[in-house]
């Protein structure tokens, strides 16, 4: 199971990474494996402030639908164009590269202390075993 040490994780199987003051969010390798091939990613919350644990989007796999939850409170500033149905429309990137090209949104974190509540790679590993 691929679990980069530098990332923080949530119980809802999202990962979050800080990059120059902006946080990038995606779903874990474990999550994409459980969902199977993804066919659609819907994020219509760009520009909105969303609370921690609230839904910011939805992903569709062939078999199941899954909501996407905010790991921390913040404002959605960008949705990955490669996933957007009006642009790249390539949700399979989440399956093939969940921590890289398959990132989902970028957010401005409201309170960086929120990050301390999240799981590190070891704690997330324990959760999925």
């Amino acid at each position: 199971m691929n679990l980069p040490e530098a990332l923080k994780y949530t119980k809802e199987h999202e990962w979050i990474k800080l990059e120059n003051g902006v946080a990038v969010i995606g779903i874990t390798d474990f999550a994409q494996g459980e969902l199977g091939e993804l066919v659609y990613v819907e994020v219509d919350t760009v520009g909105e402030r969303i609370e921690k644990d609230e839904v910011f989007g939805t992903i569709e796999a062939v078999k199941t639908t899954s909501d996407l939850f905010m790991p921390v409170t913040g404002k959605i500033i960008e949705f990955n164009k490669e996933l957007d149905e009006n642009e790249g429309d390539n949700p399979g990137l989440i399956n093939s590269d969940p921590y890289g090209d398959g990132w989902i949104v970028k957010i401005e974190i409201e309170n960086s202390e929120d990050l301390e509540d999240l799981l590190d790679a070891t704690a997330y590993q324990d959760l999925i075993e």
Partner: protein, 368 residues
């Protein structure tokens, strides 16, 4: 969790496994899309050994089958099969099943024999129900734990299996069967049935034969790019055909008439369980109907999503998926009677979002 004779093979192949009806079953080996397309375009093999099989054998075997099932088993010749259901006394569906009329070479003088193939999740419920109605001179035997089932499905399925037998398989008509030897395994029940809409065969064997048969199929199937298919693609394949899945689309509280299964409900035959309740529902008129719909959105309908029309909730989704063959989301669900016609516009409530939907004629997928 129970295993089939092939569980270890599925694990060794790297399948994603999950519990289904108490069995450890393969959901997919690669991706649902790839597996689905293989069955539509060439050939795939399903281990569906979890399915249940009962033998009904005796002088009054037909009477028992007629008493518990809705279709008319009296029309079956030896070597024929029919789709049917087990109605309860309220006219709901205890299970859907296939009834086979077996040869009588193992029977005593004047006896008949049938095999009933039922859903894995309902084996115990069905067996107890049929047993409770066995007032006849006949025996009911549960052979589920001794029986394995492989479904070889797809346009090239018959060609692949043909290389393993002397029996002329193309002579076996849809919903009929023969017994014979396949890959040196004796006494295989070779049935021209399936749950995919792409043709093929289902092979019933003893548990001790199934691993050898699986290996033989993959050896001769190599030239046809044969692949194992999990329960994930089994669901997308059946849904594209509009076939009901017990527990999703039909249940103890849905009538076969509401589910569009009037064609296997022979109200003209003598008394059978549920006949009165089904007749009375027919007389008073149906209030809802199972329909197929396509979605004009990228979001996919799922079991239990509300169906909306004229600003009101008028039904509920029972099955939904992205259709791998059509590339659009499709689903089935019960709607109030007046919303049942193809062309009717509906909405499906997906969380906060309303998805545009249109009732369409089943099946969704038609062979090109």
């Amino acid at each position: 969790m129970k295993s089939t004779g092939l569980t270890q093979i599925h694990i060794d192949l790297g399948a994603r496994m999950a519990e289904f009806a108490g069995y450890n079953m393969p959901i997919s080996y690669t991706t649902i899309m790839e597996e689905h397309n293989s069955v539509r375009e060439s050939v795939g093999v399903f281990d569906v050994s979890h399915m249940g099989e009962f033998i009904i054998k005796g002088k009054e075997a037909l009477n028992l089958v007629q008493q518990v099932t809705s279709n008319d088993a009296a029309t079956l010749e030896i070597g024929e099969a029919q789709y049917s259901c087990l109605p309860n006394n309220q006219g709901g569906i205890i299970d859907d099943l296939i009834v086979y009329r077996l040869s009588e070479d193992q029977c005593a003088e004047g006896e008949q024999a049938y095999m009933l193939v039922v859903n894995a999740s309902n084996i115990e419920k069905d067996f107890n129900w049929i047993k409770a109605h066995n007032k006849f001179d006949t025996r009911l035997i549960n052979i589920s734990d001794q029986t394995s089932l492989l479904a070889i499905q797809g346009p090239q399925a018959v060609q692949v299996v043909q290389q393993l037998t002397e029996i002329n398989l193309s002579a076996i008509k849809f919903y009929s069967f023969q017994k014979g030897s396949i890959a040196g395994e004796d006494n295989v029940l070779i049935s021209a049935t399936g749950y995919t809409g792409s043709g093929g065969l289902e092979l019933y064997v003893r548990n001790d034969q199934v691993l050898r048969l699986w290996k033989a199929l993959f050896e001769v199937g190599q030239a046809y790019a044969i692949r194992p298919i999990g329960l994930g693609a089994r669901d997308t394949l059946r849904l594209e055909m509009g076939y009901c899945l017990y527990g999703n689309d039909i249940s103890d509280t849905t009538s076969p008439l509401e589910a569009g299964l009037g064609w296997i409900t022979k109200l003209g035959k003598d008394d059978f369980n549920g006949k009165e309740a089904i007749l009375s529902l027919k007389e008073q008129g149906l209030s809802r109907r199972l329909v197929g719909f396509k979605i004009n959105d990228r979001r996919v309908p799922r079991h239990d999503y509300p169906i909306i029309a004229d600003g009101k909730e008028i039904g509920v989704v029972t099955s939904g998926t992205l259709s791998p063959s059509l590339g659009i989301p499709i689903g089935m669900g019960y709607v109030k009677w007046r919303y049942r016609k193809p062309g009717t516009n509906l909405f499906i409530q997906a969380g906060k979002k309303l998805l545009e939907a249109e009732v369409v004629k089943l099946p969704f997928y038609k062979k090109s």
